[in-house]
């Protein structure tokens, strides 16, 4: 039976069919759905770990214990997990160990577009790269086999377009894998990486790469498709799909394993065609390998280094290089189109981060940010975030700036999930080395950006089972930070008061701004749209400056100022009351005032407003 499955669903399915026992991950686009899907299957333990390094260690531990295990992460997650990735390469394991790295060419939801095939080369870990959902499933199963055959972790490298594309997949049954061990191994020469042991393991690892390369010569993961002999395309992953569509008459060497490479197979292929062209996204990884083999080829001289490929890009560049394309590139004509308004992602209406950012924006303090929805606090009109590098970076960056003697008070903002992920060691460092940084933990009770996953602060597990809550305030106090305040993130006045108090000390301080994400189901049930009382609004524009998508400019003008009045879109407004608290003219009644008014005038209804055009 074939079903349309996303690449992520297919990886989960493949892991399950392969008899996986343990799966761990930290949410990150485009990898998140792998664990969400796998958690629905029986007979596999799944968890959201606190970060990717922990997730990989969890998977390694299970594989040492003789149970098949998988860890999934986005590409930059492998940076966090890199230390573990390298030692796992040295030790191998007792049962299959697979690491999924979901890369994000074109950075649809990431801070860079690093090519993690480099990590495979770097750590001497074989790397499989599927090109559609069927291969996502099949290669996951093959990765477990390969892992056990050669006593090595295996990297399954995907890209956004394989993770988030759905293609038909043939489903299979689970093959149960009885545990390979009764007891945990006591094998220090293999599993205790002191220098003396590690030195003996390194040649083993290098020999393993040669053995796998020899195996790859015959593996069905790699295949030659002979067609015309004028052009031979070497490719892998989703780039294969674009190239197959655009170059239907070319021969193809389709590599399912991109590291290590099958030298003889490549030489046979290259010898069978007149012109070798490598089609790959991002880095010239395959091209470099071919050049090292002394095989003349073209790659990045034809196709771009930056950004993802697509049929348009491949066809245009292939045609320009004189390759036999399926049809001429589409001539795009200039459309008679006005300049279009940009539509960047924004902090949602009712976002609990808005109150904090309007305060920081008003105070004009330098703010180091972090990874999450709240990074959007950088956008105008709030413009309240001045750095964002990677998970957990903000707190350390603020501390470094403070210790540099810059003279400005530094503020670090970080979400709850990101705080547990990599913020905690950085805050411990502030507590230890005593800088006067104010750390604001934006606790929206969720890992919101990736789709509202639970985290250690929510009291629930991946399977929505109750767990212990790791309370932020006692945790922070235990570090030795004495100035700690918790404020409802919708309380504008309370935030400012706490801010002033915490900043009055020349010591480390933490402000927990707490309010659940407005998009969580239980929060949605409490939405009450607010409205603007036109007679009171003067068009002063203060409410426009908080960047709420529910606050629009009315076509009505204030008679005196000739400025547009404010208008609230009732379909978007959640009733967070931040604008209501900021309005100096009491033109936006709060929930209590609305309720009182309704009790006195039960029959009224607000004028319907549309999104306007």
């Amino acid at each position: 039976m074939k079903r349309g499955l996303s690449g992520n669903e297919s990886i989960a399915r493949g892991a399950w069919e392969a008899g996986v026992h343990v799966a761990a991950a930290y949410p990150g686009t485009p990898s998140t759905e792998i664990l969400e899907e796998l958690a629905r299957f029986p007979r596999v333990y799944c968890e959201w770990s606190t970060n990717e390094k922990v997730a990989l260690d969890v998977a390694i531990g299970a594989a040492y214990a003789g149970r098949r295990a998988i860890a999934a992460m986005k590409h930059v997650g492998l940076n966090v997990a890199a230390d573990s990735f390298f030692y796992a390469s040295s030790t191998g394991a007792e049962a299959g160990l697979v690491i999924v790295s979901a890369d994000d060419p074109s950075m649809h939801s990431s801070q860079n577009e690093q090519d993690n095939r480099r990590f495979a080369q770097f750590a001497r870990v074989p790397c499989l790269e599927p090109s559609d959902s069927q291969e996502c499933k099949d290669f996951t199963i093959a990765a477990f086999e390969l892992s056990e055959l050669f006593d090595t972790p295996v990297l399954l490298r995907t890209t956004t377009r394989t993770n988030h594309s759905a293609t038909p997949v043939e489903l299979g049954d689970r093959t149960e894998r009885p545990p390979k061990r009764e007891k945990f191994p006591r094998d220090p020469a293999k599993y205790v990486m002191i220098p003396a042991h590690a030195r003996r393991r390194h040649p083993v690892v290098e020999q393993r790469v040669r053995d796998i390369a020899a195996w790859a010569e015959k593996s069905p993961l790699n295949r030659i498709e002979w067609r015309g002999r004028k052009v031979g395309v070497v490719t892998a992953g989703v780039a294969y799909q674009y190239a197959r569509e655009v170059l239907p008459t070319a021969s193809f060497l389709k590599l399912g394993m991109v590291y290590p490479l099958p030298e003889q197979l490549i030489r046979t292929f290259a010898a069978g065609v007149e012109r070798v062209v490598v089609v790959e996204e991002l880095d010239p990884v395959l091209e470099e390998e071919l050049r090292l083999l002394g095989i003349p080829c073209e790659g990045k001289s034809i196709f771009p280094l930056c950004g993802e490929l697509d049929p348009t890009v491949v066809r245009k560049n292939a045609a320009a290089a004189g390759l036999p394309v399926d049809k001429p590139p589409v001539e795009l004509t200039e459309l008679p189109r006005p300049e279009l308004p940009a539509r960047p992602p924004v902090l949602c209406a009712g976002c609990p981060h808005r109150g904090v950012f309007q305060l920081l924006s008003k105070k004009k303090v330098p703010v180091t940010g972090d990874i999450g929805c709240y990074t959007l606090g950088l956008l105008p009109p709030l413009s309240a975030i001045h750095t964002c590098g990677c998970m957990g970076a903000g707190i350390g960056v603020a501390h470094g700036a403070a210790k540099s003697g810059i003279g400005e008070r530094m503020v670090a903002v970080i979400g709850d999930s990101t705080f547990y992920h990599a913020g905690l060691p950085a805050l411990a460092n502030i507590a230890y080395n005593r800088s006067n940084v104010l750390t604001v933990i934006l606790d929206n009770r969720s890992t919101a950006m990736t789709g509202h996953q639970p985290n250690p602060g929510t009291g629930f597990t991946l399977q929505q089972q109750p767990s212990e809550v790791i309370e932020l305030e006692p945790l922070v106090r235990a570090l030795g930070i004495h100035h700690v305040a918790t404020i409802d993130a919708y309380d504008v006045e309370g935030l400012e008061k706490a801010y002033k108090d915490l900043m009055s000390h020349e010591e480390p301080a933490v402000l927990v701004a707490r309010r659940e994400c407005a998009l969580l189901p239980e929060a949605k049930r409490r939405w009450v749209p607010l409205h603007v009382v036109e007679e009171k609004c003067t068009g002063c524009g203060i409410c426009f400056r908080i960047g709420c998508p529910a606050i629009l400019k009315s076509e009505e003008m204030d008679e005196k100022s000739r400025k547009p009045l404010a208008l609230i879109d009732p379909d978007q407004c959640t009733g967070c009351e931040v604008c209501s608290q900021l309005c100096p003219h009491d033109a936006i009644p709060n929930r209590d005032q609305i309720r009182l008014a309704e009790e006195h005038q039960p029959a009224t209804c607000s004028t319907p407003v549309t999104g306007g055009s």
Partner: protein, 204 residues
């Protein structure tokens, strides 16, 4: 199946509007009709109120690329008017644009730093592509059917009329996706969307 021709769709809108559900149903209908199907979408940050696009491709034999090339979509289905203009390049010459008559004002317009284009721009742009423009009052028809949230089903109804598949086939796929108690509502929404397209003999 060999007599059928391939179709490429691009669905665009604003994060949170329900484009993902619509592209799921479009992919399932294609599979049910015996096509090879690929669907591609983007999750994550763009879903926070940004512009979003999903691609769906049907082919009687084999789809390779999950992405539709510029100028290659047979149908551009837009949930929002300015997004139809933004992604117009995807539509092939002579294709069909199905556009929801809905404006969601971007923050850049609300804050006064940009202006929202007018309806005449839609007509001009798609005329320049020799394309047919079908405007669908999705929210209004959904409201009449009983729930404004069924606008995506109204839009799918309109698209269904442009394709050579039976209404029953669409309905079977849809019925599996919507909660039982909203079945009748969605049937009405789908039918009203279908009725907005007057000819099946479209340029598609």
């Amino acid at each position: 199946m060999a007599s059928q021709k391939p179709y490429s769709f691009v669905l665009v809108g604003v994060g949170g509007q329900g484009t993902l559900l619509a592209s799921n149903i479009l992919a399932e209908v294609g599979l049910a009709a015996g096509f090879d199907v690929k669907k591609s979408e983007v999750h994550g940050m763009a879903q926070r109120g940004g512009s979003v696009a999903s691609h769906v491709r049907w082919h009687p034999e084999k789809v390779f690329s999950p992405l539709v090339g510029l100028g290659e979509a047979d149908i551009l289905l837009s949930f929002e008017k300015v997004e139809a203009l933004r992604f117009a390049e995807f539509l092939r010459r002579g294709g069909t644009a199905v556009v929801n008559d809905m404006a969601i004002v971007p923050i850049t317009v609300a804050s006064g730093s940009a202006t929202y284009p007018g309806d005449e721009d839609l007509a001009k742009v798609f005329a320049s592509l020799d394309a047919e423009l079908v405007m669908v009052p999705g929210e209004r028809l959904a409201q009449e059917a009983g729930n404004v949230k069924a606008a995506n089903v109204v839009l799918l109804g309109a698209v269904s009329k442009l394709l050579p598949l039976s209404e029953e086939m669409w309905w079977e796929c849809l019925a599996q996706r919507v909660p039982k108690k909203f079945l009748e509502l969605n049937r009405v929404a789908f039918a009203s969307g279908r009725a907005t397209v007057t000819t099946t003999d479209s340029k598609t």
